[in-house]
């Protein structure tokens, strides 16, 4: 975690810019949904629709497209900056350490290679996408609360119930992730020790034993890895099915409120358009947890005080 803090601190500017563009891009999306709702309301009440009114969505679409592009660009850039900080900082520490402890940089580097590569790929591929999704969920929630509090609550409560299930499953997943990581470290260590002790292995005829032991470790790791894949796909399928439930409830409750005249049809449409931003963000929390856990485990493995 210390490493992560340093990474963020060193790249404050880029991260802030990424957050800002994400904010604008998300807001333009929200207001576009709001506009559609208003349009439906106007049609419903047979209100006159002016040309200047129709110019609004054009502006919103353009600003959304532009900021989204910009945000993706900035996001990738800051991910790359962070990854760079990580690599350079780490190489520096290794150099210092190798001269002090008289071990080779190459040896230390190869030990940490796996973890570095995975942390890098996480920063590059996953971190900003998922964080962006969570961000969108938060903005959508706030926006919907301004539209109608009751309907927002009706959408959030079942989603929260599902979140509890999701948190439970992600807990379980992250435990297995750690176990799989440890198993893998164990496997690497076994291979390394065998190479180191090769003369002894040869003299005392331990080749068979080494092969067997390594295979056992490999199987152990494979078992964990397969279990991880199986469980995560099970959890994801289940949460996929459950994720439809809030929409169903929203649709039924919302239609009822429209018929009773509590809300305008446009408001329901805003909810129907934006509900996905909210539920998707929550449904993706287990992935976010699992990936983040792998990331921090990798970081802590290469953490040097």
């Amino acid at each position: 975690m210390k490493v992560l803090k340093i990474l963020i601190k060193r790249n404050k500017f880029w991260i802030a810019l990424a957050v800002f563009t994400a904010l604008i891009s998300n807001l333009s999306q929200m207001f576009f949904a709001y506009f559609i709702g208003e349009l439906v309301n106007k049609i419903e009440t047979r209100d006159t629709i002016t040309f200047s009114f129709l110019a609004v969505p054009v502006i919103l679409i353009l600003s959304n497209a532009f900021t989204q592009f910009f945000n993706q660009f900035i996001g990738r850039l800051s991910a790359e900056k962070m990854a760079h900080t990580l690599r350079v900082g780490y190489a520096k520490i290794l150099l210092m350490r190798s001269s002090k402890e008289n071990c080779s940089v190459a040896a230390a580097m190869s030990v940490a290679q796996n973890e570095l590569a995975q942390a890098n790929s996480y920063l590059g591929n996953t971190f900003f996408d998922i964080t962006g999704m969570a961000f969108m969920g938060i903005i959508a929630t706030v926006f919907l609360l301004f539209q109608n509090v009751l309907l927002t609550v009706i959408l959030i409560v079942p989603t929260l119930l599902i979140l509890i299930y999701v948190v439970y499953s992600s807990r379980k997943l992250s435990g297995i992730v750690t176990a799989a990581q440890e198993e893998k470290a164990h496997m690497n260590k076994t291979a390394y020790a065998m190479i180191h002790a090769f003369p002894s292995v040869k003299i005392f005829g331990g080749e068979e034993l080494c092969k067997e032991t390594y295979n056992k470790r490999l199987q152990g790791w494979k078992k964990h890895f397969v279990k991880l894949g199986r469980l995560s796909s099970l959890y994801n399928t289940l949460s996929g099915i459950l994720s439809r439930v809030p929409l169903l409830i929203l649709f039924l409750a919302g239609s009822f409120m429209v018929i009773r005249g509590d809300i305008l049809i446009g408001t329901l449409i805003v909810f129907l358009i934006l509900q996905k931003s909210l539920t998707m963000a929550i449904m993706n929390l287990p992935n976010w947890f699992a990936n983040f856990k792998v990331f921090t485990t990798n970081l802590s493995r290469i953490d040097i005080e």
Binding site: A193, P199, S200, V201, I203, F204, G205, G206, C210, T213
Partner: protein, 211 residues
Amino acid sequence: MIELKNLSFTYENKEVFKNLSLKVKKGEKVGIIGESGCGKSTLLRLMAGLYEPSSGEMIIDGENIPEKIIRKVSVIMQSPMLLPMSIRENITMGHEVSEDKLKKILEDANIKKWIDSLPEGIETYLGDRADELSGGQAQRIAIARAMCKDTEILLLDEPTSALDGENAASVLEALDRFSIGKTVIHVTHRKEHLNGYDRIFNMKDGCLFLQ
């Protein structure tokens, strides 16, 4: 029986020794001393069949090719080179050994008491605990490993140089017990460890000089 005839050895481009000859009779105990870097370990590794000589011939216990020689010798090196496995596996290296023989080996190697004091005894896993092991304990496991193989020829490469006095004494005691009746070549930088040896050589400039 060990016989080296006009043996030369070169690492890629660095010649370590040239035309070295030595004859060691069965049961004889030979010590080799010499400055660090003069090639003592290289000679021992050669005799162990780990390297192939650049030229010359060596006959070790009737064998003259490295793949066969390696089966005829046991080596104890400066570092014990333990594997991330159980103590038992480190000693037997996966070969079949009777419990009685193993018990006797542990006693002779001066580690029975220590192993019995471990909660999991001889099944104790040495992977993550290898660091907690003292150098003496690790080296005595290496000796037990050699006792298991139990060859006629025993090659020792500074087996106590990394140990403090007390641990070194315990390791030497185990080695003395083990060397009875064996042909021993003992490389060391401490001459006092070679008391009672039949011959002692000083290695210098790639040659062996009888002391």
